[in-house]
Amino acid sequence: MIEALTLFDGLLGFLLLGLAWSVLASKDLFRSVVLFIVFGLIMAMAWVRLKAPDIALAEAAIGTGLTGVLLLDTLGFISRNRSEGKSKEKQGRKGTE
């Protein structure tokens, strides 16, 4: 029983590391945000395993729920503005990429 839980904890840890990496490495911002939300949910589970249900609740509600909504909304805001000011954006792209 203990071994199974240790295995689960290890899996959780590596899953978190992998998710964190793919959030940062993903080129597609939408994908990043979705992965970030998944990261938050797994993180909440990790907090439960660390016997910190208070933080798990806060992580799930604020860290994942509301932050995810805000990030998705911001993403929509950016793409709306980009399509509005496309000429400006093209100028900027030349500068940054």
Binding site: L57, A61, T74, F77, Q91, G92, K94, G95
Partner: protein, 226 residues
Amino acid sequence: MMRWVIGSVMIAFGGILVWGVMSLPGGDGLTVKVEERMEMSGVTHPVTAVLLNFRGYDTLLEIGVLLLALFGVYSLRRSRPDPTGVSVSHPFLLALTRLLVPVMILMGGYLFWSGAYAPGGAFQAGAVLGAAGVLLYLNGFDLPGRKKEWLLRLYLAIGFVFFLGIGGGLVAAGNRLLEYPPDLAGSLIIIIEAGLTLSIGFILAELYISNSSLEIGPDVFVTEKG
């Protein structure tokens, strides 16, 4: 070249972090001290005792920062966004919202109340209320108090005002800031948490709602120009 430099700095930083965590003093930390003083705290859940009593000013500053963040967003806002204008108005979402929002309000109340003796508390309850506000807004409903602006502002500020008012009152009564008298601690914490729950809910919802009318153009997202 640059990425190797950055990489090695990050690895060094990570190493310092691991070393720091490893060299933390072991044992129970502050658990024993908190448990010794639990009966003075006015609540039975140690996390709430620390957040609202022993380290109350941290939480006071937290709600202050949250309010300041909203002021920042307000200052960038073009005008008060009209919920009917951005309504997603999908019948499924509408039905789900009608079903969920009453349950979420109940859930918020439960989380707030259970904070005194079990995991929960104002921030979690406020987050649930905030999510309910976002759902309502997406369906074109007004937030309560939006028509009366002073009422909305009262909701936003009430957590901080209660907290600071009680803290200031205690100072005036000769105690230190947020040093509750043990026999009053329970009820003071409930009052503060009630205000916090309401304010956090409204602040989080307003943060989202104001997002749709921010006065920043596309050039904000272009960091380096030509």
